[in-house]
């Protein structure tokens, strides 16, 4: 029990993972794994099940067929929570609170990465000037950037990013690519969905194609 499992155990692996809604298959069966430093791009047209796949991995959709493992352990609350960070279409932040207040709350909930503060994270994503504005006064792209600041601020080695490029300008897209590259360099893993309209920085990233 004291000896750790083989160091090669992937952070996240899926075996014959499939999901159907009302007996209608949405995706799968899929086999893939995500090791430290790896990025996987999930591509597919609108409605091909990209978001559904990420939600199943994040444990927000039940009763998927197949198996998901985190760090070699079967997916459960204990093996998932605190390791997975989720950035979805919804910001996960309250519109009446400022970016700083929202990030402060989430940091209290999840903890912070060593050496990172909410202010530093917001400066990095270029929203330092709007720190104390209520979120509802920010544009969609700025809200997305606040979401990116959250990824920087709170710990978690598996990033599940659902359309992180949506609403972002060219600099924003470069920023997402840079953040993913840094995350992978630190030994994290990233699963990104995209409908294929933006260029993806890492040419070595593996691709999963949904809904041929």
């Amino acid at each position: 029990m004291t000896t750790p499992p083989a160091p090669a155990a992937p952070l996240l692996s899926a075996h014959r993972l499939a999901f159907s809604r009302n007996d209608e298959p949405v995706f799968g069966p899929l086999d893939f794994s995500l090791g430290p430093g790896e990025t996987v791009l999930v591509e597919g047209d609108n409605g091909s099940g990209k978001t559904t796949l990420l939600r199943v991995l994040a444990g927000m959709l039940p009763s998927a067929e197949g198996e998901i493992r985190f760090d070699g352990k079967p997916a459960s609350r204990d093996s998932r929570n605190g390791h997975v960070l989720w950035l979805g279409h919804r910001t996960g932040m309250n519109e009446s609170l400022s970016a700083h207040e929202n990030l402060g709350f989430l940091a209290g909930l999840y903890g912070t990465r060593p050496g990172m503060t909410a202010i530093a994270a917001m400066e990095r994503v270029g929203i330092a000037a709007w720190i104390d504005e209520p979120l509802r006064t920010l544009s969609a792209g700025q809200k997305k950037r606040v979401g990116l600041a959250r990824l920087l601020l709170i710990p978690g080695d598996i990033w599940l990013l659902d359309e992180p490029y949506a609403n972002l300008d060219r600099h924003g897209i470069d920023l997402v690519n840079a953040l993913i590259a840094e995350h992978c360099a630190r030994g994290g893993a990233t699963l990104v969905t995209s409908h294929g309209a933006v260029r993806f920085a890492d040419p070595r990233a593996r691709h999963i194609r949904l809904g041929t």
Binding site: P7, P36, A58, G59, M60, L61, P62, D71, R80, N81, G82, H83, V84, L85, W86, G88, H89, R90, T91, G92, M93, N94, E95, S96, L97, E101, G104, F105, L106, A107, G108, L109, Y110, G111, T112, R113, P114, P155, G156, D157, A185, R186, G187, G188
Partner: protein, 239 residues
């Protein structure tokens, strides 16, 4: 050797449970303060209803003194209802619940903290103005403390029951009517015990037993309701 790994190798960076509870309480208080106009409405509603009763029934002090306890109980329950419905609504819509689900803290604990914050911000003010409303309705002075204790036990119980229903109804449209229909049968026994204590105090009889029943139910609800609430929140996020 794998110092680059985040999270797992840095347990010191993890948030403690107490820290998470304080963060959630502070967030809810800040939000409540931003919407203090909204929070004022149930209070206004309670004062208006209590002020209208003597006009509608005629200014017979004895009649008012007889019904005051029951009327005030019902006023508080009704004033609580609209806010109960939206306990988790905004968090479901903006994706906050998704973040709750993935947090290292147990979902039931977060749900319990949310109920406490909700009770402190929306229900406690109603209990604070009870002496004033008691005067409006000619509530006997010796009954007032019993009424307040009964409310201090009954309202958290209702808030806990309401949190489960609110989580169940969060995904549904027009959940207000649904909430009222579902909460009514659960509210009836709570009101009966609270009113029983008030009536006993009014007629000079021992009133401890019904209060004890309320306290027992509250203890049970503190333990069980957050678990049910967490399960309902999971369903709400999944759908």
């Amino acid at each position: 050797m794998n110092e680059g790994r985040i999270g797992r190798s840095m347990p010191a960076a993890k948030a403690g449970m107490a820290g998470a509870c304080i963060a959630l309480l502070r967030r809810d208080f800040v939000l409540a303060w931003r919407r203090r106009g909204e929070l004022f409405l149930p209070l206004l509603y309670a004062v208006i209803v209590a002020a209208l009763f003597p006009f509608a029934l005629g200014p017979d002090p004895e009649l008012l003194a007889r019904i005051a306890g029951g009327v005030l109980l019902v006023i508080v329950v009704l004033a609580m209802l609209p806010a109960l419905e939206s306990m988790f609504r905004a968090d479901l819509e903006d994706g906050t619940l998704e973040q709750w689900l993935l947090a290292p803290q147990p979902l039931a604990l977060l749900a319990l903290i949310r109920v406490i914050a909700h009770w402190l911000t929306t229900v406690l003010p109603l209990i604070v103005v009870m002496p004033l409303l008691g005067v409006l309705l000619n509530l006997p002075v010796k009954v007032l403390p019993v009424l307040i204790v009964a409310l201090l036990l009954a309202t958290p119980l209702l808030a806990l029951l309401g949190s489960v229903l609110s989580a169940l109804a969060a995904g549904a449209r027009r959940s207000g009517i649904l909430m009222a229909l579902m909460l009514l049968p659960l509210a009836v026994p709570v009101v009966i015990f609270a009113a029983g204590a008030v009536a006993a105090a009014q007629s000079g009889m021992p009133y401890i037993a019904p209060l004890m029943w309320l306290a027992a139910a509250l203890v049970l609800a503190i333990v069980l309701a957050p678990l049910a609430c967490a399960a309902a929140l999971r369903i709400a996020v999944e759908s």
